[in-house]
C-alpha cells in the first residue's frame, strides 16, 4: 500500500508538471504547400526551404517540437525564407522532383529557384538557425556546411 502511495505521488508530480507548458508558439512557422511557395517566390525574392516530412516519423515530430516551435526559428523562417512543407506520402510528386525520400530532410533553393544546398536529420534550434544563416548569407558559395559549422 505504501508503495502504491509512492507511485501515486510520482504520477501526481508528472501530471502537475503538465501545467508547465513550455515556450509560446508565437504563431508558428508560416508553412506553404510547395506550389504556393513557388508562386510566392515569383513575387518575393527570398530563398526557399523545402522541408520533407512524414506525419508519423518521430524525428519529424522532434523537429516540430524542439525547433519549429522556437520563437527565434519561427521569426527567422517567416522573415527571411519562404517555407514549403511537403508530406511525402501525400505529395509524392514533389518528393520525386527533388529525389527526396528521407525524412526529415531539407532542400534550400535560392531566390531564383535553384537548389543550392540539401541536408537531412534532426537539428536543434541553434544548429538550425546556423543552417538558415549558412543559406541566407550564401556561405555555401565558399564553404562546406561542415566548414561553416566549425567557423572556418
Amino acid at each position: 500500500m505504501r508503495r502504491l502511495k509512492i507511485f501515486g505521488l510520482m504520477l501526481a508530480l508528472v501530471l502537475a508538471a503538465g501545467l508547465w507548458a513550455g515556450p509560446a508558439l508565437a504563431g508558428g512557422v508560416k508553412w506553404l504547400d510547395y506550389p504556393a511557395a513557388v508562386a510566392a517566390q515569383q513575387k518575393q525574392a527570398k530563398p526557399m526551404l523545402v522541408y520533407f516530412h512524414l506525419p508519423y516519423c518521430y524525428r519529424c515530430k522532434d523537429m516540430k517540437r524542439k525547433t519549429y516551435s522556437q520563437p527565434e526559428v519561427i521569426s527567422r523562417l517567416n522573415t527571411d525564407f519562404l517555407a514549403a512543407k511537403v508530406d511525402l506520402e501525400q505529395e509524392s510528386a514533389v518528393g520525386e522532383k527533388f529525389q527526396a525520400e528521407y525524412t526529415p530532410s531539407y532542400v534550400f533553393l535560392d531566390a531564383g529557384g535553384k537548389e543550392v544546398f540539401r541536408t537531412k536529420g534532426v537539428f536543434g534550434p541553434q544548429r538550425f538557425l546556423k543552417l538558415l544563416s549558412y543559406v541566407s548569407s550564401k556561405a555555401y558559395q565558399g564553404k562546406t556546411w561542415d566548414q561553416y559549422q566549425q567557423g572556418d
Binding site: 508503495r3 503538465g18 518521430y58
Partner: protein, 418 residues
C-alpha cells in the same frame, strides 16, 4: 522453417556464450536496449527505433527511414545462499552477455513499417560451488535458463495519432542445472532445449504533442524442453547413471499486459511511466523433469525418473518510471526506477531459481553524431533476501534456506540511420 529459426536462435545463444542468464522482473529483463533500460524500462508510450521489436511494436510505426541497431548488455549477478546450519556461500563470478540486433524501416513513404530483431528476452541462473549438500559433502548448485527471441514485426499508422503493431516471436530456450550432483539422488541435467512461438500486439495513441498512451499484450510461450540428458546419482554401488532422454514440462514464459504513458512537460524533457502485469501464476507452477532410457541397467522402478520442482510463482506487478533530458543536439541523459514484485513465494523458494530482485535504479545517455546514436546505460538491482519458510519435505528440500541477490548490468547500443 522451424529448423531454420531454431538454428538462428541457437546461433544467437552460442554468441552469448559462455552463458546467458539473469533475473530482473522475474525472469524478464526490465527493458531492451540502452534507451529503454536507461529509463527503468518505461518504454510502452515512448517512440523507439529497432528496440520497438522487443517493446511496444506499435512504436515501430514511428520509424522515419531505415535504422539498424546492434548492442547488448553485460550482466553481473551477485548471489549468496545460506542453507540451515551452514555458512553462506557466494555465487561464482559470472558475466553474461545479452545480445541485441535489429533492423527497421518504413516501407517507402507508406503508413507501414517493418522490422526484425533478435534479442535476449530473459532467463536466470546460479553457480554455487562448494556448497554442502544434504549429506554435508561439498557439492554444487548450478542452473542456467536462457531465452532468445527472433521477432519479425509490422506496424501501421492508422491515423496521425493512432499506431498499431504486431510481433511474432519465435523463441528458443535452453536449460541446464546441477542439483547436488555428488549427493545421493543428485542430478546433473544438460542440453534441454525448446522452440516456441508467441505474439505481441501493441497500440499507441498520441493525444497531443505532450501526451501519449500505449499498451501491449503478449501471449504466453509454452516451452516443452527435450533432447536433454540427465546424470542421476544412485550413490555408492551403481554411482552416476546417464539417462539419455530428459525432458522438462510445464515451464512457460508468461503472458503479459502493459500500459504506459509518456509526457513532455517541455521541449527537452520526456517523462514515462509503465505498469505491467505478468502472469507467472499460470506459467510457473510445478515444473517436472522426466528422464528415461538409462545407459546402464538400473534398479526396478528407476527406469523412468520424474523430478517435480514445486514453484507456484505468483503474478507480478511491475512499475517503471523514467525521465529523459536532451542537453543539446548531441547529448541526451536518462534516469529511471523499476520495481517488480518478487514472484517467488516464501514457501517454495529454490536457490536454483532465485528471481527475487525487486528494486532497480538506472541511468544512461545517448551521444548522437550525425546519423549515428551511441547509447549507454547502467542498471543496478538492489539486494533482496528471501528465506524458504515452507515445511521440510521431499518436494521442498530447501526449507530454511536463505538466498540474497543483487546485480549490475551495463547496456550499450549503436544505431545507424540511413
Amino acid at each position: 522453417m522451424k529448423k531454420v529459426l531454431g538454428a538462428l536462435l541457437a546461433m544467437a545463444l552460442v554468441m552469448a556464450a559462455p552463458g546467458l542468464a539473469l533475473a530482473t522482473n522475474g525472469m524478464n529483463m526490465i527493458g531492451t536496449g540502452a534507451v529503454s533500460s536507461g529509463m527503468g524500462g518505461a518504454d510502452v508510450a515512448v517512440p523507439a527505433g529497432c528496440t520497438a521489436i522487443a517493446g511496444n511494436p506499435a512504436q515501430l510505426a514511428t520509424t522515419c527511414n531505415r535504422v539498424v541497431s546492434v548492442g547488448g548488455a553485460l550482466l553481473n549477478p551477485q548471489m549468496d545462499v545460506t542453507m540451515p546450519g551452514q555458512s553462506g556461500v557466494d555465487n561464482e563470478f559470472q558475466l553474461f552477455p545479452l545480445p541485441f540486433a535489429g533492423y527497421a524501416q518504413r516501407i517507402g513513404t507508406s503508413r507501414w513499417s517493418w522490422g526484425v530483431g533478435i534479442f535476449a528476452q530473459g532467463g536466470m541462473g546460479v553457480d554455487f560451488q562448494n556448497v554442502k549438500n544434504f549429506s554435508g559433502a561439498d557439492d554444487s548448485l548450478y542452473s542456467q535458463v536462457a531465452f532468445m527471441r527472433l521477432a519479425p514485426t509490422v506496424a501501421y499508422n492508422v491515423t496521425n495519432h493512432l499506431t498499431l503493431g504486431v510481433t511474432a516471436f519465435a523463441g528458443y530456450a535452453t536449460i541446464d542445472y546441477d542439483f547436488f550432483p555428488n549427493g545421493v539422488q543428485g542430478q546433473n541435467v544438460t542440453g534441454l532445449s525448446s522452440f516456441t512461438i508467441a505474439g505481441r500486439f501493441g497500440a499507441n495513441y498520441q493525444i497531443n504533442d505532450q501526451w501519449s498512451v500505449g499498451a501491449t499484450y503478449t501471449s504466453e510461450s509454452s516451452l516443452d524442453f527435450d533432447d536433454g540428458e540427465m546424470r542421476f546419482n544412485f550413490g555408492p554401488g551403481l554411482g552416476k547413471v546417464t539417462y539419455r532422454d530428459a525432458k522438462m514440462d510445464n515451464f512457460t514464459w508468461p503472458r503479459q499486459v502493459e500500459f504506459g504513458v509518456s509526457f513532455r512537460p517541455t521541449t527537452k524533457w520526456l517523462l514515462a511511466f509503465d505498469v505491467s502485469w505478468v502472469n507467472w501464476a499460470a506459467a510457473i507452477q510445478t515444473v517436472t523433469v522426466t528422464a528415461s532410457n538409462p545407459s546402464t541397467p538400473v534398479p526396478a522402478g528407476y527406469e523412468n525418473l520424474s523430478v517435480p520442482f514445486i514453484m507456484d510463482w505468483k503474478d507480478q506487478w511491475v512499475f517503471a518510471l523514467g525521465a529523459q533530458y536532451e542537453i543539446n543536439d548531441m547529448w541526451t541523459v536518462r534516469g529511471g526506477y523499476n520495481y517488480g514484485q518478487n514472484p517467488v513465494p516464501d514457501n517454495t523458494l529454490n536457490p536454483l531459481f532465485p528471481a527475487i530482485v525487486e528494486h532497480h535504479l538506472t541511468a544512461g545517455f545517448t551521444f548522437t553524431y550525425g546519423d549515428w546514436d551511441f547509447d549507454f546505460a547502467l542498471e543496478h538491482a538492489f539486494s533482496n533476501s528471501q528465506t524458504n519458510t515452507g515445511a521440510p519435505s521431499p518436494t521442498n528440500p530447501f526449507a530454511g534456506t536463505e538466498v540474497s541477490h543483487y546485480q549490475n548490468t551495463a547496456h550499450f547500443m549503436v544505431s545507424w540511420r540511413f
